[in-house]
């Protein structure tokens, strides 16, 4: 049992951790600098799983953990496609999900962008030739940036987001 008062008088749990990755900070800083030129103050991302194996989702949610904490770079994950600038799609598009994926994209306001995350989203990956999938995300949506990987690491996803922000400016 912890004395609740200790919360005020003792150092916070997170303070004992030391992690700072210069490479990540550099990409983050670049994204932060680019965002206001196209998107206003922040980049709103809606994540859509169209049939992944869930590892890509785990890496995307890891972007929010204290090691990465990408919100400080102006990237936020939003609950509704109506609030989103970018659709981050994972997984080969399954027949069962195709309709919902299209509707999610249609619900987004213009201008809108699509990033395919992971090998399966890029071109169908190991599910190529299965009756149950259509293939990569570009089979049903216009894809702007592809991030390969099985799954891509959080840093690679950040680099992909930077590529999109740069592309959107052009």
């Amino acid at each position: 049992m912890v004395n609740p008062l200790s919360l005020f008088f003792h150092p916070k749990v997170t303070e004992t951790f030391e992690f700072r990755n210069e490479e990540l900070e550099a990409i983050g800083a670049k994204i932060k600098k680019e965002i206001p030129k196209v998107f206003g103050h922040s980049l709103a991302i809606r994540e859509l799983d169209s049939g992944s194996d869930n590892s890509t989702e785990i890496e995307i949610s890891n972007l929010g953990n204290p090691h990465y904490d990408v919100e400080r770079f102006g990237i936020s994950f939003v609950a509704s496609p109506r609030h989103a600038d970018v659709l981050l799609v994972t997984g080969a598009v399954t027949l069962n999900m195709a309709e919902a994926a299209k509707k999610t994209y249609e619900a987004m306001p213009y201008p809108k962008y699509v990033i395919a995350v992971g090998d399966d989203a890029c071109d169908g990956g190991i599910y190529k030739g299965s009756y149950a999938v259509l293939g990569g995300v570009d089979k049903i949506l216009p894809v702007d940036v592809k991030i390969p990987g099985n799954p891509p690491s959080p840093k690679e996803i950040m680099q992909g987001i930077f590529a999109l922000v740069k592309k959107a400016r052009e």
Binding site: N3, F17, D53, E57, N65
Partner: protein, 544 residues
């Protein structure tokens, strides 16, 4: 009978023969598996008696052109609590023959039967639910992908939805429905929830899944075992290691390959690392859902650090690409293994301080206690497994009940709670993280040196009971049960001349999902995310 049998296996046989005065036909037996061939008329007598004897149905699946038989063959896997051997009743069906539904006696059969019906077009007589399961409306009528006649490839989808899925209707004054999904508000997988509520409390919940159906079982057909490993890893992201190991174990049993002790121990180390990061995610998620970032953050930090340890050990944050039938693809460098105990020491200190903080918060306890109760009575009928069952007073754990690999010599500390609420699941999961840390430390102590890959390549096997035909590879079938972070996963592999003819996967999530419809009743809608998180079931692992 020339085959040597253990006492438990003899007991299984005597139970079956005592039900009907007739010696059952023993098809084959392996370590902890007994296959009995059963005719339709005998099956009708046997299954109710098995229910009375407290057997639970842990799996039911179908295979076409099994052995020399043309047509469909059904496999019913029955298990007695905490006894290692499983009883597999094999029913061979004639063309166009229907099977009798056992869903009223064994509720867990309902999804299994619907799955078989979708895949093979086999009808079950007397089934109370005959809706499609993994084939949604977009699939045309009469399409059954697992039939051998269907060659895998793109299909033309139904132009107009032929059969609309009908949700359960709940009517009455003040009852309204809340549809949620398949696309959810957070970064999670797709699935549909249909709540019927009266005011705040949930009156009824119906889940509809399989949006992520990718056809993994069909993709496995015709591949070599090594080619299938990436498919097993893709069953569910955070169970990559467990499913790869389960698949490899089944193949190794068919081929009679003995895995070296070093490889077995290293596999167990990775299985436990996977368990730790999965469960940490659950604990963190539960803390987030009650708005307690001070507790969630250290759990998230530790989880990320485990991912980094995984990468150091195997080159993959998800422990992918290292497990192969026969052992491991490559050895793990001793330098990375030496780091583990130091890291785990630091890990435990941070973990305990965060856990203490969680348990000393009255608001957290208030949200967790008595929320989302899963009664013990549900565990056997629905075949619930894993931390969920252990938090509801059932101590079942495959690592202890039916040890495999390194667990034959290294057993984890069991953990159990009785209340079955969110708090119990939080405590059980925390206990299991501690047990896994201790287990890893003892596994890597005095780790034997030597090769990590069995030299008998080509899956030809060197002994065992599998028959080897014209040197092209083993023919045979075997079942592997493995304890994944979410509970018991089942892998059944049927090899023909070294090629996978049928690969059946049933993850713990497939069964455990059905518990959520019971757990939420009477709880308020805002507690649903918390209950869902405390169970943390895999969509991908269910949809396949």
């Amino acid at each position: 009978m020339s085959i040597k049998m253990s006492k438990d296996k003899m007991e299984l046989l005597s139970i079956v023969s005592s039900i009907k005065e007739e010696e059952p036909e023993l098809l084959s037996t392996r370590e902890n598996e007994v296959y009995l061939k059963i005719s339709e008329s005998r099956f009708k007598d046997i299954y109710p008696s098995l229910a009375e004897r407290k057997f639970s149905l842990t799996g039911l699946f179908c295979a076409e052109a099994f052995e020399k038989k043309d047509g469909l063959t059904l496999f019913y896997i029955f298990k007695q609590e905490s006894k290692p051997p499983v009883l597999i009743l094999v029913r061979e069906l004639e063309r166009e023959e229907k099977a009798v539904s056992i869903a009223e006696t064994f509720p867990s059969a309902s999804w299994f039967e619907r799955e078989v019906r979708d895949g093979f077009g086999l009808e079950f007589t007397g089934a109370f639910d005959t809706r499609r399961l993994f084939l949604h409306e977009c699939y045309p009528e009469g399409f059954h992908p697992l039939q051998k006649a269907f060659k895998n490839g793109p299909i033309s989808t139904a132009e107009a939805p032929c059969t609309e899925y009908r949700f359960r209707q709940v009517k009455g004054e003040g009852v309204y429905q809340i549809p949620v999904g398949p696309v959810h508000a957070g970064i999670i997988e797709p699935g549909h929830f249909r709540f019927s509520v009266i005011g705040e409390p949930i009156f009824s919940l119906e889940i509809r899944l399989f949006y992520k159906h990718r056809g993994i079982e069909k993709l496995a057909e015709g591949k070599t075992p090594s080619e299938c490993v990436p498919l097993a890893e893709a069953v569910s992201g955070d169970e990559s290691m467990a499913n790869a190991a389960g698949f490899c174990m089944a193949v190794e049993q068919v081929c009679g390959i003995n895995v070296s002790e070093r490889a077995e121990r290293l596999r167990a180390v990775m299985l436990e690392l996977e368990r730790i990061y999965s469960l940490l995610g659950d604990l963190a998620g539960m803390a987030v859902d009650v708005g307690f970032a001070l507790v969630a953050s250290p759990f998230f930090v530790l989880r990320e650090e485990i991912f980094r340890q995984n990468e150091k050990l195997t080159g993959s944050r998800f422990l992918r690409g290292i497990t192969v039938p026969g052992g491991l693809k490559k050895d793990i460098p001793d330098s990375s293994l030496k780091e583990l105990p130091v890291f785990l020491g630091r890990f435990s200190r941070t973990f305990e301080s965060a856990y203490d903080r969680a348990m000393s918060s009255s608001s957290l306890i208030d949200r967790f206690a008595t929320t989302g109760v899963i009664k013990k009575e549900l565990v056997s009928p629905l075949n619930l497994t894993g931390p969920l069952a252990r938090a509801s007073g059932c101590p079942a754990d495959t690592r202890l009940d039916r040890p495999y690999g390194a667990y034959r010599n290294f057993a984890p500390e069991p953990s159990m709670r009785k209340k079955g609420d969110v708090l119990s699941r939080f405590e059980v999961k925390a206990d299991e993280i501690r047990a896994s840390v201790a287990l890893i430390l003892s596994l890597i102590e005095n780790l034997p040196k030597g090769p990590v890959f069995a030299e008998s390549t080509g899956y030809a096997g060197n002994g065992g009971s599998s028959e080897v035909t014209n040197n092209s590879g083993a023919t045979g079938y075997s079942l592997a049960l493995i304890e994944a972070p979410r509970g018991q996963n089942l892998h059944w592999v049927y090899l023909k001349n070294g090629i996978v003819d049928r690969y059946k996967i049933r993850t713990a999530s497939f069964c455990n999902w059905q518990a959520i419809e019971h757990a939420v009743i009477g709880n308020i809608v805002p507690d649903f995310p918390l209950i869902n998180k405390s169970l943390n079931l895999s969509y991908a692992g269910t949809d396949l």
